[in-house]
Point group: C2
């Protein structure tokens, strides 16, 4: 009977569904924020050194996060607030207009897919049920999904205000999945990988070259059997076998 129990465990652990993060996993995002923040540093350069601007902006963003949530609109409001603080109220209306204009460019920015994404998703959708699981601004995320042209590969799209154990549990339940059948793919260890591993799911980390300070995690869970790290999206089908 031992081999039957083994077979049972084998099938029970087979991945049926893959969740994908969107920003910096399927398409570029943090690079757009990085360019906006560089313009912001230049705008305030005559008042403060860049490191001080970064520190103050991040502190404002973290203070406002419970009120604003994630996304460009909250980033803009925190940028305006920080600029007023850092200049002692001397920032001009024209400069604030420039911050808002940068924000409009961010919101209207074309969706640039990451390499191999467009070719890999159709292959995976033949063998797995695919979910898009992203956090941030509802309107902006929906527009990016539409603009990406990837929507048809996904069984469902879940846009969350936060990605943690409770929200992943709710999504698994809604889709009738056990953690054993689920793998999450994303660039953030903190939001995409660690909460899913903690539930008993699998996680595939695809690092992006920039990580927002808020998503930073010291150590990768390299000792976890259901964790993989890949360098390129094209390695994903192979990484999923055996998870």
């Amino acid at each position: 009977m031992d081999w039957l129990a083994g077979l049972d465990a084998y099938f029970a652990a087979m991945i049926r569904c893959i969740g994908f993060d969107a920003d910096d996993t399927l398409w570029h995002n943090e690079s757009i924020f990085a360019r906006a923040q560089e313009r912001y540093r230049q705008l305030l350069a005559r008042h403060h050194p860049p490191a001080e601007v970064d520190r103050a902006l991040f502190a404002t963003e973290m203070r406002n996060l419970p009120l604003y949530g994630y996304g460009v609109k909250g980033f803009l409001l925190s940028s305006i607030e920080t600029a007023i603080d850092l200049t002692g109220g001397k920032i001009s209306a024209a400069e604030i207009r420039e911050i808002i204009a940068t924000g409009h460019e961010m919101l209207a920015h074309p969706v640039d897919l990451l390499p191999d994404v467009a070719a890999t998703l159709p292959t995976l959708s033949r063998d797995y049920r695919l979910l898009l699981i992203t956090k941030g601004d509802l309107q902006h995320q929906e527009r990016k999904i539409a603009a990406s042209g990837l929507g048809a590969h996904f069984h469902a799209v879940e846009i969350l205000s936060e990605k943690d154990g409770a929200t992943y549990e709710r999504i698994l339940q809604r889709h009738g999945l056990s953690p054993a059948e689920f793998a999450m793919v994303g660039n953030s260890l903190k939001s995409d990988i660690l909460p899913v591993l903690a539930l008993g799911g699998a996680g595939v980390h695809v690092p992006y070259h920039i990580t927002w300070q808020h998503e930073h995690v010291e150590a990768a869970p390299d000792d976890q059997p259901r964790f993989r790290r890949i360098e390129r999206f094209a390695e994903l089908p192979a990484a999923l076998t055996g998870l």
Copy 2:
């Protein structure tokens, strides 16, 4: 066989599920925006008469709606942009700070339930499956639902970027409902009632004393057999029988 067909039609049309709008249906919302807009008019009073301020702000909001979507953060960003325009750049940083401070008060405002809501929902949840269907800012709507204490009465919460025929259709499908089995309750004819009636569902309009200009609709669908209007939330259980 005629009476059997009649019985069939009778049961097919029985409401099984009620969707509720949230802002200005379950709790006060537009009154919070109205107070913020009054402060905004005063802030700009030395530059422009109130009607001109209102007109300019609404025009900015409508222009930015495809980028920002609904909610307080977009309202704030449009308010700042309009204030810069209307003052020819002469608005001070301190005044922009005041606009942001008003926004923080709006986002942190306690949830004030409308009369009879707290007593009526538990009764309805015994006979119907209840859904909360709201549009706007994900983070803010979730915090208001949590603060309302009403969450437990709802089978599911759906936060949308827009409420139209396509989004209602998706929700009915997700919950395995036919339009005949569904009634939507809300204060906005445009967002809550007309798209649901067009699908073949039922609609109960509970007017709020203020309607945002964007939600304004000229004529109520009084000739539609599956439409009701009530003055108080307590009239809802009676209004639903026969729909």
